[in-house]
């Protein structure tokens, strides 16, 4: 069974890996966006600052997800 795995085409696993990374990014950025909207609803006068920090956190989360995509691209 190990020999069978060695001769398999790894492109499918790469696609699954990239999909899982996308799920991670979706959940992470969704949570960030949701919390940011809640905070903006509670204190509208601070929306500018909340929005800025939301973008920063979203970019960091997306950076981590893109690590996964890059590894998938390598295959």
């Amino acid at each position: 069974m190990l020999l069978q795995a060695q001769t398999m085409d790894f492109g499918a696993f790469a696609a699954i890996g990239a999909g899982l990374a996308a799920i991670g990014a979706g959940i992470g950025i969704g949570m960030i966006g949701g919390k940011a909207l809640e905070a903006m609803a509670r204190q509208p006068e601070h929306s500018g600052m909340i929005q800025t920090n939301m973008f920063i956190a979203a970019a960091l989360v997306e950076g981590v997800a893109l690590f996964g995509v890059v590894v998938a691209l390598l295959k």
Partner: protein, 347 residues
């Protein structure tokens, strides 16, 4: 009514830009004979990779590309010639006793195995030189009118000056603190370099500069060098003696902090590269859908899929515009935060 007409005109113009390059047209007779579906991967890779020539349109025999100079340094000899001499890999070039050949990936090898240092003007280098020229033109002219004209700015300056002030105040000054003026030139240059190259990479026939990992590697190395050189005693103290950490956890914390010195610029590099390259791959894949439909269902299928595909491409293009600005902002912001950490005073 006029607004609707203008909107439709804008959609058509954007739709024109959405068709990235005419060189997507596959050799349909060959495909129909072999009865294989169109494989988009080589075309997509060709569009995001670097090359020794600037391919504009056409396919194989009737392709039009601008040959770029190949500059090679082998064992003390500098050889310069146009890449058209390779004839797309079919012939070798002989200079003195060195025989150069190019393989399918665009790497140049020497016949007797000598090590070749390839410092050619490739497509990315040529495009970077063009964008640098554009940056110099724009900013030198803005600086001149700023110095001369003490009244309110107009035109192009009115568009860029708020952006420059936004970067200076909200990104650089807020994150670095009192000593921010030393780092303003570097951070402003990084912001506008990344922004201009991200935006110009969206145009048809352009090169994928910020999606090239070597370019983002150099940018993050600059950030790394600047943070390391301007690190003060507080910075190194926090790394080798994290405050408030019990002695038992020190063997874990200190290696983590030391690795953290390198992972932060590494993440900067990967983030920019992956975002821009992934955006390009998505757009190219959606356009390739049309050709996959053509090879699977014939011309009728292609015409049917085309409107849907172009609409999706338009949508992704708008997202990519946002990503271009956002990635430039994030790169500059995180560089400013790292520099701020390095020069932070005791608090």
């Amino acid at each position: 009514m006029r607004a609707v007409i203008r909107l439709i005109a804008c959609v058509f113009v954007l739709g024109f830009f959405a068709i990235k390059s005419y060189s997507f047209v596959p050799n349909t007779e060959q495909a129909n004979q072999k009865n294989e579906t169109y494989d988009p991967v080589p075309n997509i890779m060709h569009h995001i990779a670097d090359a020794h020539e600037w391919h504009l349109w056409g396919e194989e025999e009737n392709s039009f590309s601008i040959p770029l100079p190949v500059i090679l340094f082998t064992e003390g000899h500098l050889d310069v010639f146009l890449s058209s001499k390779f004839h797309h890999g079919h012939s070798t070039v002989t200079k003195g006793n060195r025989v150069y050949s190019i393989d399918s990936h665009g790497h140049i090898h020497e016949g007797s195995g000598l090590s070749v240092i390839d410092i050619s003007i490739t497509k990315n280098v040529a495009f970077m030189l063009i964008s640098v020229l554009l940056l110099l033109l724009i900013f030198i002219s803005i600086a001149k009118t700023y110095n001369k004209n003490k009244k309110a700015p107009t035109g192009f300056q009115a568009f860029l000056e708020p952006l420059i002030l936004f970067v200076k105040d909200d990104i650089i000054k807020d994150n670095i603190g009192p000593k921010y003026e030393k780092y303003t030139p570097f951070l402003l240059t990084v912001f506008f370099f990344v922004l201009i190259n991200n935006l110009m990479g969206m145009l048809p026939g352009s090169a994928n500069v910020t999606g090239n990992i070597a370019v983002t590697f150099v940018l993050s190395v600059f950030t790394f060098i600047i943070t390391t050189i301007s690190g003060n005693k507080n910075y190194w103290g926090h790394i080798f003696k994290p405050p408030g950490v019990p002695l038992a956890l020190m063997p874990i914390m200190v290696p983590i902090e030391i690795i953290g010195i390198f992972t932060k610029p590494f993440a900067l590099m990967i983030r920019l590269f992956a975002n821009i390259t992934a955006g390009h791959i998505i757009i190219l894949s959606l356009i390739s859908l049309i050709f996959i439909a053509q090879s699977a269902m014939g011309n009728a299928g292609a015409w049917g899929v085309a409107p849907v595909s172009v609409l999706f491409v338009l949508f992704i293009y708008c997202i990519e515009l946002l990503v271009a600005f956002l990635q430039a902002y994030i790169f500059t912001l995180l560089s400013a935060v790292f520099i701020g950490l390095a020069v932070a005073e005791d608090h």
